[in-house]
Symmetry: C2
Subunit: 345 residues, 2 copies
Amino acid sequence: MTVSGRRGRRPTLEQVAAYAGVGRGTVSRVINGAANVSDQTRTAVQQAIAELGYVPNRAARALAAGSTDAIALVIPEAETRLFAEPYFSGIIRGVSAELADTDMQLLLTLIRTPKERDRFAQYVTAHRVDGVLLLSVHADDPLPDLLQQIEMPAVLSGRRSGDEPVPYVDCDNTGGAQAAVEHLIGRGRRVVATVTGPPDMYVARCRLQGYRDALRAAGLEEDERLVAEGDFTEEGGRRAMRGLLAARPDLDAVFCASDVMAAGARAVLREEGRSVPGDVALVGFDDSAVARHMDPPLTSVRQPIEEMGRAMVRGLLEEIEGRKEGRGGHSNRVLPTELVRRSSS
Amino acid sequence: MTVSGRRGRRPTLEQVAAYAGVGRGTVSRVINGAANVSDQTRTAVQQAIAELGYVPNRAARALAAGSTDAIALVIPEAETRLFAEPYFSGIIRGVSAELADTDMQLLLTLIRTPKERDRFAQYVTAHRVDGVLLLSVHADDPLPDLLQQIEMPAVLSGRRSGDEPVPYVDCDNTGGAQAAVEHLIGRGRRVVATVTGPPDMYVARCRLQGYRDALRAAGLEEDERLVAEGDFTEEGGRRAMRGLLAARPDLDAVFCASDVMAAGARAVLREEGRSVPGDVALVGFDDSAVARHMDPPLTSVRQPIEEMGRAMVRGLLEEIEGRKEGRGGHSNRVLPTELVRRSSS
DNA sequence: AGGTCTGTTGGGAGCGCTCCCAGACATGAT
DNA sequence: ATCATGTCTGGGAGCGCTCCCAACAGACCT
C-alpha cells in the first residue's frame, strides 16, 4: 500500500513528465505500453511514476481517447430473484476475475422497470461504456437488438433462440439434460418423466430436447403424459409433479429442468408417500444450494457458471478489440455441463 | 426508447446550446438544476436536449468538475461464497434501487488477493470514485482505515467492533438472536443451546450476547457446555452440534448463529435419531434459501438486507454531500430484524 | 438623471489526458 | 560529404464539460 501521503491534488501526467525530465507524450507512451520508447527513458518514467504514486485519471483519459475503459453488466431485476443463488454471484465472480488483469471497470446495472431500461438504452446509445454483458435475456427483450443496432459490443449469457444473432456464451443445456436422463436410465429407471421450464424460453426447450434425445437413444417410451410444464418456480414444480402423478402413477423417475422445481416436486412426492430415490429417482438442473440441502441431496446438472462469466468477458473484449480494428468478433461459446451425482437418484 | 438515429458523434453540450440559441453556461445550468435560469430559457433548452437526444458526457463532466459520479461497492471475495445467497444479491438489489434515482454509477469490485486490494487502494487514493461501500469487512481489513485516512467517504455493512469509527449500517444482531431464543423459550424449551460464529467476528459476539440476554431474562440456566463454537460453515455446524450432544444430551433446543450451520446441526440431529422439532427445536439466522428448503423448514431470523443496501447508499450520499459542504455525516443505522417462524421450532 | 441592486446570461479558462505532427538525432547508403 | 531512412521525442490541439467572472437589462431608489 505504497501511497504518497501528499495531501490535496494528485500528481498528473504532466508532473510525472517534469519529474522524469521528459515530455508528456513520452510518459503517455510508457503508460500505454507503446513501442518506440528507449529503455532508458522508459525506466526513468516508470521510476517517476512509482515515486510520485501517479495513477492516471480515467476521466481525462476517457475524454481524450473517446473510450471509457468500462463495461456494463446488465441484469434484469427478475433474474436476481429467480436465479439468485449460484448463478448471479457466480457470473459476477467470473466476470470480475477475468477483468482483474485488465484495467477495465465493471459497471453493474440492474434493470427493474421499462423506465430504467430506457434510461440504460439512452446511456449506451451515448456510448458511455465500451461494451455490455447482458444476463439471461428474455425473448422479448429489446435491448440486444438495440445494442446491435447502435453497434455496441455485447455478449449475452444464454441464447434467445437457436440462431441468436448477438454473440453469446451458453452452456450445453441439451447435453446436460441428456446426460441427466441417461443417468436415470442407467440406474434402471424405465418410466422417466420431466418437468420443463416455460416453453417460450429457449433454455427450457433445450433441456426438454435433451430429455427426448436420451429416451429415444435408449429406445424408451415417449409419452406426452410424462412431460409436464413448469415455470422454474417451486410452486410450478409442485403443480407439475401433481399432474404427472395423476397422469402416470407408474413413473419411477423425474428429470426437473431446475433445482427449484425439483424441490417442489420432492415435496409433493413426500406428501404422496413416494420415497426418493426408492420409489422415484429425482434429478435437477443448476446444482444450486437448494440441491445440496435437499433431503435426500439432489443429483443435479452443474453449469460452469464462473467459467461462463469469464468467457463472456473474453468474448466481449474480443468484440471491442475487433470493432476497433474493423474486423468482426462473433465468438460464441457453448460450455459443457457436468452431472453431480447425489443420493436422490 | 426515443433515441435519435443520427450516426457518428453524439451531440455535445455546445451543440445543444447552439440549437437552443443560448450559451454553454446556460445549458449547463439547466442540466444541473441550478437556479437563476428563467423559465422561458429553461424550457427552450430542455426541448433542445430532448430533440437532439443529448446525453451528457460523464468523462468530460468528471474531468471538469473533479468528481466522478460513481461509487464503488467492494466485496471481499471470500464473502461471495460464504454469504452468497440472499445477502450478496440482496445488498446489490438495495444499493442499485437506491441509486436508480441518482445519476451515480455503481462500480463493482471484488477483492480476492492482497495484490488486488492494494490496487484498489491505489485507485481510491487517487480519488477515482466519490465514495465506497464496503461489504462485511473483517476486523483485520486495512481498507476501512485507509479510506478514513484519505478522507474518502465510506459506509460499511456491519461493524468490526462495538465502537466502529467508520460509518456503518448494521442489523440488530443482538436483538434478533434474543428474539429467536425467547421464541424457543416461549415454546416451552428449557435447555437451550447455541452454535456461535467465530468469536473474533463482532457479528458472532452480538448473536451470542442476544442468546445470553434471553436466557438471563427468562431466568434459565446458563451453562458453558450449552455454547459451542462454529465458523459459519455447514461442517462447523456439524462439529458443534456433536459437541453439544455429547456435553448436554438433555438439550431440547438449539439456536444457530447462521442457517448454514443450522443445516449442519440438523444433519447431525438426524443421524443421532433426534427429531426436529419434536426432540429438539432449531432456529437459524439469515433466513436464507437453505432455511426455506430444509426439512422441516427452518425458523430463522431475517435481516432486512435490501433495506440495508438502501440505507448504505443513503448514508454514503449524505457523507459525500457532507464532506463537500465541510460538515460531517456519520449517520450510522441499525435496522431491526424479524423472526420468521417455520416448523422447525 | 444617476446610482445601486438583483436576476440572468455568455463565454474564457482550464480539468488531465491522447493523438499526431514536426523536429532532433543516429544510422547507413550513395 | 550528402541524402534518405528510421527511431525517438516534445508539445500543440482538442476531447466536452464546469467554474467563474464580467456584462447586461430591468427594477428600484435617491
